[in-house]
């Protein structure tokens, strides 16, 4: 009975705790329903070789990243050095999905910033992106040997996030099977 006056204080602290937690959440990161499901299959032309095609089938048996990017996308530039580094070190094959972009602009962007991609698929009208639930570039999907999406990162990839989350998953998935 004596501690009754502490009740409002306790409620306040609880509320403050919830609000503090809410501040740390990123409302842009919407959990994707595609994680754990087979990656939507597609076969489209390649950016550098318009006569050749790229399909999800080509990556069967490999653990790989699908990185959705565009030359008009500002935050793609933020993560680009990391991708270039991954490509140079050959950590994991990174397939680019050039999203709603003009081929000439995309080529110019790669010439200027370097090309980290093993292959680049083109998605001029965003149809492939739509099937992957892409709503903000850049987005990165981690796809396993069986073609199942294991992780989706929304927004520019940071080295910290890559080392902490993606790299252990890649190592684990490459080891298994």
């Amino acid at each position: 009975m004596k501690a009754k006056f502490l009740v409002p204080l306790a409620i306040f602290l609880l509320l403050a705790g919830f609000l503090a937690y809410g501040l740390k959440l990123n409302p842009r990161e919407v959990p994707s329903p595609l994680v754990g499901k087979p990656a939507p299959a597609f076969r489209v032309a390649q950016l550098q070789a318009p006569d050749a095609s790229f399909g999800t089938e080509d990556m069967r048996g490999q653990v790989w990243l699908l990185n959705v990017w565009a030359s008009w996308c500002v935050s793609c530039r933020q993560e680009h050095p990391l991708l270039v580094d991954l490509g140079r070190r050959g950590v994991v094959p990174v397939v680019g999905l050039n999203y709603k972009d003009a081929p000439a602009d995309a080529m110019g962007y790669l010439a200027q910033h370097g090309n980290p991609y093993t292959t680049i698929a083109v998605d001029p009208n965003g149809a492939v992106g739509f099937d992957y639930g892409v709503y903000g570039t850049p987005e990165t999907f981690l796809i396993d040997r069986d073609g199942v999406i294991r992780y989706k990162h929304i927004g520019p990839l940071t080295r910290e996030k890559f080392d902490r989350v993606l790299m252990p998953m890649i190592a684990e998935l490459s080891r298994a099977g």
């Binding site: 409302p27 329903p33 709603k100 739509f130 992957y132 639930g133 709503y135």
Partner: protein, 167 residues
């Protein structure tokens, strides 16, 4: 009669001008319907009002001008035109973008708190209040002891003769 005649003409001109203004404002404020079928367009709009644009989050797909919202409206239109039902189109979008894409999320384990939370809070509040009121009703005030009784008597006596208390 000429005054009446001019007044009528003036009124008609004003009405016409207003009507013109109205159409201009209308055309500027809303997206031009893309399909020729107004019935289909109405269904597209009705459905898109319940879809969240993921780029601008608190805007619906019907209101948003983000490129993704345009894509989503086109998808909705195409699929409805192809004869799919509203529910099928919603399922199609949810499969790609998740439950977050609809403004009314489905009832399941992860959304149970969202749906029943307010009801539970209301019931708990009403029950707490009822309990409290009932307890107060049953409480009988403690009987006065002799000192309190004497004090009460003195106060009552003072109150009954105001002239005296003023001195």
């Amino acid at each position: 009669m000429p005054a009446d005649f001019y007044l009528k003409r003036l009124l008609r001109a004003a009405t016409l001008a207003l009507a013109c203004l109205g159409t201009v404002a209308h055309a500027a404020g809303e997206a031009v319907p893309v399909s020729d079928d107004p019935e289909l367009e109405a269904r597209v709009l009705a459905l898109s009002h319940n879809l969240r644009c993921l780029v601008c989050q608190n805007e619906s797909v019907a209101e948003s001008r983000a490129p993704l919202a345009v894509d989503m409206r086109n998808q909705v239109r195409e699929q409805l035109a192809a004869g799919r039902s509203e529910q099928e189109v919603v399922d199609f979008l949810v499969a790609r973008f998740g439950d977050f894409v609809v403004f009314t999320p489905p009832f399941k384990a992860t959304t149970a708190l969202l749906w029943i939370g307010p009801g539970v809070l209301l019931v708990a509040g009403v029950a707490g209040l009822a309990l409290r009121l009932r307890r107060r009703l049953n409480e009988t005030p403690a009987p006065l002891d002799d000192a309190e009784r004497a004090r009460a008597r003195a106060l009552l006596a003072a109150g009954s003769s105001p002239e005296e208390s003023r001195k």
